[in-house]
């Protein structure tokens, strides 16, 4: 299908006109199974090496090789794949059938569902995976003797799980990948397992994700209940047929799936694990917690978009959660001092934008932003990693300054600047366009709440620009000054050691990728060709589903009926406002953090002095105390309940009831024991008592006319 760029900017038309084509079984694509197998193999190999305590960089190179091959395979698939989606059966996994109809069977085979969305996602997942693995071969070298192999085992497991998640042909495989990436991130966040903070962070990440996974699992159950299948190829064909089950079940599906997505992508109430996840090594933060894994939520919603379109209210919820999370995280990010934490909050915020886009109906915008974000955020993290690597783990922007003037860090600094500009959505950067896609859909909407979300997003863009450049101006610009972090090994004078080729190479490639990520937009803008990303979206599940067109149409229509905003089209308005906000934020940062750094502190002091809002800076630095609140509301009560139950179980149920019953015989015995103390009379008592009872019985029967 070909759309003119302008109409292509309107998701509504896209939704209304598109449809999920039926999938064709294509066994000839079985070689794509290697994309799944290679990471698994390298994972096993690395695990074995870890167990056999293999010294040397072998595991690293093995991983890089397998991931690279993966990437090549995906490229091959990209070229050779047909128009419509294909299903590649690989093997049996779980299959039941106990009756004739669909509802009498539960089929979950090891199979791939390949459409353009899959390819699109796999492209940057495997590509970035390879590059970051390459980067890590050097970054992790200083513990070649300790956990090198373990690290790469984790990376390989992650890639395997992510591949299963994206390419899997049914929701159960997606669930497998979903939990698999959770495991990988658990392993990698807890990589420095002697640090209690790292262990705690890993635990937190897995548990919070498990909450989301719970929603996802229940969503899968419900999907099966309603539609009798969990295989995409059938599901999206029959989605929208009147469900065989009650209305509430069907209405619940998208909300439960949403819960899973929020957990994995750190949205809404479940975002708390991502900042702590920065305890992991920086390549992990770049790969898993910035570029790929956290976008799994976006992928889930894009993949199951037809189910969401059946419940427009669910999409509204998604939009709200996304927009608010974007704003919330940005406010926290403005007050952090740890570079990686700032980038972490910016990740949450950007993911919020993506969900906002999904909620507003422009999956294209969301995926486009995912795409660009993957690159520039990876670039930012890798540069941060380079700094961390060079300055012995120092990331506090109060203790680093003017790095761009230090030889060996210039290139890093400029790429950091690139990433910062992109993150700040500087005009005509890639992120500028992708973000524009999303915000214009909101600003140009008829619905007041969507408009509000749009403007909130624009304002958040300003905040983003501010905190991004706050970091850059503080750390990379200004007078040269640094203190090494706590990981300093050498005594005496500290010399920052600059990154070598592998790190520089991957940074460079990813930076260039970040630049190129904007190319589709330029194309669409100036050459008036179809946006490549949109072309990738088209014909995939991300843009609608069979039989949902009419529900979708009105939602999309009210989502964006590109009417006039501020006298120009929604797009133009958004672009202008976006650039104004962005540049404004940058200028404020420039003044406060480069030109007169003292002003920032005096401003802070001024705010703290003012009575009503004096608490704000401290609270923002403490992440609005969300963790503490969660602790008090959820963990502590459960923990107390656990202790109470343990007490009940041990002392009341076991020691009380059970042992009480157990000791009752001996109690009865204790009653009669004195009668057998050997004293004549006690025996006489029993004897006489017995005689008495017998007599009584005789009398009784006799009087009742017995005998």
């Amino acid at each position: 299908m070909t759309l003119s760029p302008i109409t292509s900017m309107l998701p509504g038309t896209m939704l209304a006109s598109s449809d999920v084509p039926a999938a064709t079984i294509a066994p000839e694509f079985a070689w794509l199974g290697w994309a799944l197998a290679l990471p698994a193999i390298s994972a096993l190999a690395c695990t074995l090496m870890a167990l056999c305590k293999v010294k040397g960089k072998l595991p690293g190179w093995l991983t890089v090789a397998s991931l690279g091959t993966c990437f090549v395979l995906i490229l091959k698939a990209y070229q050779s794949m047909p128009e419509g989606p294909i299903v590649v059966p690989l093997a049996e996994w779980m299959s039941f059938s106990w009756g004739p109809s669909d509802f009498h069977s539960l089929q979950a085979a090891l199979e791939l569902y390949i459409d353009r969305l899959t390819i699109f996602w796999m492209l940057f997942v495997s590509g970035l995976g390879t590059l970051i693995a390459l980067y890590a071969t050097e970054y992790m070298e200083h513990d070649v003797k300790a956990g090198y192999a373990r690290f790469f085992a984790g990376v390989s497991i992650f890639l395997f799980a992510m591949t299963a998640l994206v390419m899997g042909g049914n929701l159960l495989l997606l669930y497998l990948g979903w939990e698999g990436v959770g495991l990988a991130s658990y392993m990698l966040i807890g990589y420095f397992f002697t640090r209690p903070s790292a262990v705690a962070a890993a635990k937190k990440a897995f548990i919070v994700n498990r909450i989301g996974d719970l929603g996802l699992a229940l969503g899968i159950f419900l999907t099966w209940r309603c539609y009798g299948t969990i295989e995409y190829s059938e599901l999206f064909q029959i989605a929208g047929n009147p469900p065989r089950d009650g209305p509430w079940e069907e209405a619940l599906i998208p909300y439960l799936l949403m819960l899973g997505a929020f957990g994995k992508s750190a949205q809404g109430p479940l975002y708390v694990w991502l900042p702590d996840a920065m305890e992991g090594p920086t390549p992990v933060s770049a790969l898993i917690h910035a570029a790929t894994m956290v976008t799994a939520g976006v992928f889930l919603i894009a993949r199951c978009y037809p189910l969401f379109l059946l419940q427009p209210d669910a999409l509204t919820v998604v939009a709200w959660i996304g927009g608010l999370t974007a704003f919330w995280a940005a406010t926290i990010g403005m007050a952090q001092y740890d570079m990686k934490r700032v980038w972490a909050y910016s990740t949450i915020s950007q993911l919020g934008y993506m969900f906002l886009g999904l909620g507003l109906g422009t999956t294209f915008g969301a995926c486009f932003h995912t795409f660009t974000h993957a690159f520039f955020k990876a670039c930012l993290f890798l540069t941060a990693g380079a700094v961390m690597h060079g300055f012995a783990g120092q990331l506090d922007i109060r203790k680093l300054s003017g790095l761009s003037k230090i030889p060996g860090f210039r290139m890093v600094s400029w790429f950091a600047l690139l990433g910062a500009l992109w993150l700040a959505a500087f005009p005509f950067s890639a992120a500028f366009f992708s973000k524009d896609e999303i915000l214009s859909a909101g600003v140009g909407s008829d619905r007041a709440d969507f408009q509000f979300l749009g403007w909130l997003g624009l304002f958040t863009a300003g905040l983003t620009a501010y905190y991004t450049f706050r970091v850059w101006f503080r750390a990379f610009a200004g007078p040269v000054h640094f203190e090494p972090g706590e990981e300093v090994h050498a005594h005496g004078e500290f010399h920052p050691h600059s990154p070598r080729w592998a790190m520089k190479l991957s940074i460079a490639i990813i930076g260039i990728g970040a630049v190129l990520a904007g190319y589709p937009a330029y194309e669409a803008m100036f050459l008036h060709k179809e946006n490549w990303v949109q072309w990738m979206m088209a014909g995939s599940t991300a843009v609608g589903g069979a039989g949902v067109v009419e529900q979708a149409a009105d939602h999309a229509a009210e989502a964006s009926s590109g009417h006039q905003v501020l006298g120009m089209s929604a797009h133009a308005a958004t672009s202008v406002a976006g650039s104004i906000f962005g540049i404004g934020g940058i200028l404020i940062a420039l003044y406060l953090h480069l030109i007169r750094r003292s002003a920032a502190d005096s401003l802070r002091r001024a705010i703290q002095a003012t009575p009503l809002i004096g608490w704000i800076p401290g609270a923002a630095e403490n992440k609005w105390y969300v963790d503490e609140i969660y602790n008090a509301v959820f963990c502590v009560p459960l923990w107390v309940t656990g202790h109470v139950l343990h007490f009940i179980d041990k002392h009341i149920l076991d020691a009380g009831v059970v042992d009480g019953i157990g000791s009752s015989p001996s109690l009865v015995g204790r009653v009669f024991r004195p009668l057998y103390g050997g004293v004549l009379q006690s025996y006489a008592v029993t004897m006489a008592g017995g005689v008495g009872l017998i007599l009584a019985w005789l009398a009784y029967t006799w009087l009742r006319g017995g005998f």
Binding site: G246, P674, V679, Q681, V685, A688, G689, V691, G692, L693, L695, A696, L698, A699, Y700, W702, L703, R704
Partner: protein
């Protein structure tokens, strides 16, 4: 959602057993045995009193309260038994009954004191009271011989033995000085004891009480008289005297006593040698001692012998037991020896 409501209702209701379940626990209702209310009340009251007395030996308040309760229970029992006559005709009252009531109360109270008095000697003395009261009861029941035998044997023989033993024991261990011994003052678990006693009393007394219902005075009286007459037939001397009192000089012919409902007649040969039958008057009915004697020697001679043997054995046994235990310390031996010598000198 009505459908939903039905659904959820279903998930909970069947936890209960299905309606067709057999009714369990519906055991047959037991009608309590009809113990006469007098027995129940009196027994319970008396038992309570006895318990009070026994529980804290030596404590006055308890003893008095207990004694009152026990007497109350006793009164209920005796009154219920003696006055609440089975066939409450005009008035079931008579002089022997009055005596019997007094005697009964006396004996029961005495018994209570026997088991409750902290000093064995008192106990023994109260036992004498019981025996005497029992003797009175026997008299009212028309067992004169036994009545006196009882007094003689018990009060005369057995109790004296007890006294001797008591004196031996008590004086040997210096209990008499310091009031009663500890083991005399407080009873060992009186609750069990009184409970057992109560159970026994209720069951026995109930059976006996009911047994009296089948008492038919008229026929019993006739039977008694008939037996007495027959016993007279066994007594040649008494028979001769009886005949003499009616027909002087006549001698009864053996085995011709004929007892009929109306009169008692027997063949006699008169003084003139002519044979004829004589009707005996009520006055010549043999009295209790005679009849008992007859029963003993005629009906139960073997048992009589056995009793004798038992007594003999007992005597031998007592002697053996006692002898074995007489050991004389060396000092006493020497003393005896010296005395004998002194006697010699």
């Amino acid at each position: 959602m009505v459908k939903g409501s039905g659904l959820r209702y279903r998930t909970y209701a069947p936890i209960l057993p299905p309606p067709r379940c057999p009714r369990t626990g519906g055991t047959v209702l037991v009608t309590p045995p009809m113990v006469p209310i007098e027995l129940l009340a009196g027994g319970a009251l008396g038992a309570a009193g006895l318990l009070l007395i026994l529980l804290r030996g030596g404590h006055t308040v308890h003893r008095t309260g207990g004694a009152i309760a026990a007497l109350g229970g006793l009164a209920i029992l005796a009154g219920g038994a003696g006055l609440g006559a089975p066939t409450a005709g005009e008035s079931g009252f008579s002089f022997p009954l009055l005596v019997a009531l007094l005697a009964g109360v006396m004996s029961a109270a005495g018994a209570v004191r026997v088991i409750s008095s902290p000093r064995p000697v008192l106990a023994a003395i109260f036992f004498v009271l019981v025996v005497v009261a029992g003797c009175m009861l026997y008299l009212t029941l028309g067992a004169e011989f036994l009545a006196f035998a009882l007094v003689i044997v018990y009060a005369g023989a057995i109790l004296i033995t007890y006294m001797f033993v008591l004196m031996l024991a008590q004086q040997a261990s210096g209990d008499s000085k310091s009031g009663a011994a500890e083991y005399d003052r407080n009873a060992r678990d009186p609750i069990a004891a009184v409970f057992v006693g109560l159970v026994l009393f209720l069951s026995i007394a109930t059976i006996m009480w009911k047994a009296v219902d089948s008492f038919d005075p008229a026929t019993t009286g006739q039977i008694q008289r008939a037996r007495a007459w027959i016993a007279l037939g066994e007594l040649p001397k008494g028979l001769r005297e009886a005949v003499e009192s009616v027909e002087p000089g006549a001698t009864p012919e053996a085995g011709t006593l004929h007892v009929s409902a109306g009169e008692v007649s027997l063949q006699v040969t008169k003084a003139d040698g002519s044979r004829g039958s004589v009707t005996l008057p009520e006055s010549s009915l043999p009295h209790n001692t005679q009849t008992v004697g007859v029963a003993l020697v005629k009906q139960f001679p073997v048992s009589l012998e056995l009793a004798g043997v038992i007594l003999l054995m007992a005597m031998l046994g007592a002697v053996v037991l006692a002898r074995r235990q007489i050991e004389i310390g060396d000092a006493q031996k020497a003393e005896l020896h010296a005395r004998s010598h002194g006697g010699a000198a």
